[in-house]
Symmetry: C2
Amino acid sequence: MNLKNTQARSAIYDFLIRSSSPVDVNQIIGFLRSKKLNTNKVTIYRNLDTLCKNGLLEKLEFGEGKFRYEFKKNHHHHLICTNCGKIEDVSGEYLSEIERKIKSENGFLIKSHVLEFYGLCRNCRS
Amino acid sequence: MNLKNTQARSAIYDFLIRSSSPVDVNQIIGFLRSKKLNTNKVTIYRNLDTLCKNGLLEKLEFGEGKFRYEFKKNHHHHLICTNCGKIEDVSGEYLSEIERKIKSENGFLIKSHVLEFYGLCRNCRS
DNA sequence: TTGACAAATGCAACTTAGTTGCATAAAATC
DNA sequence: GATTTTATGCAACTAAGTTGCATTTGTCAA
């Protein structure tokens, strides 16, 4: 696939690569405005889509009724604080055993999984 | 909380209790129409909300940009076929060990988790 | 370095999912 | 059967995301 290096696209990508947790489209719009880049939301959606399809970003959901995006890194999960909204990464490949079992018992071939944890972060616990 | 037993509510609940996989609001509307119950979508959303808050239903997301609902049963996960869309249940409490580890390492207190598997069901594999 | 072509953008209008305020209706309780 | 509480319907609205189409911008080869 032929990806062109445009202003909007590289700004979006830069923002995502620097974000420490998954961002939504509004945060992207805010960032682009702050950079005085007048970018249409359609362009943002299309770029996010393209970047996902090219394996550069990941599209995620956290029960908010909208999507969030993050720079694609090694397989990991998230700790979502239900009090303050903070999203931390947590790595770990916990499920290979389980996936093997499901394949033999259910005849279902697992290609991917989503595993996210909800609870209270260190700050909000105290 | 005082739940009244209304026509709309019990029809929605009946439908959910009989559905073998999580349903979206359109499926509920279709069902109610087929029963000649002329129910407003607002009523459906409010009932789903109420039933969730009372622990009778569960609200789920499968990366479709909308919510699905299911009758609340024992903790379980789903096998979502990315080819035909079929959603199967799979039971199992795989994560207690992991959750303990996360608590001590990240100081994060896990209250719940979401674990869903995507892949190909038995039919779609062949 | 320029011209051609594919890919990207912007705009307006649209869709889909879900929400809110408010007046009315229906259950449950007394 | 009257009262109170909860539920419903309607209309209008918001928020997230999409589509068609005309225009612009990168890229690459001549």
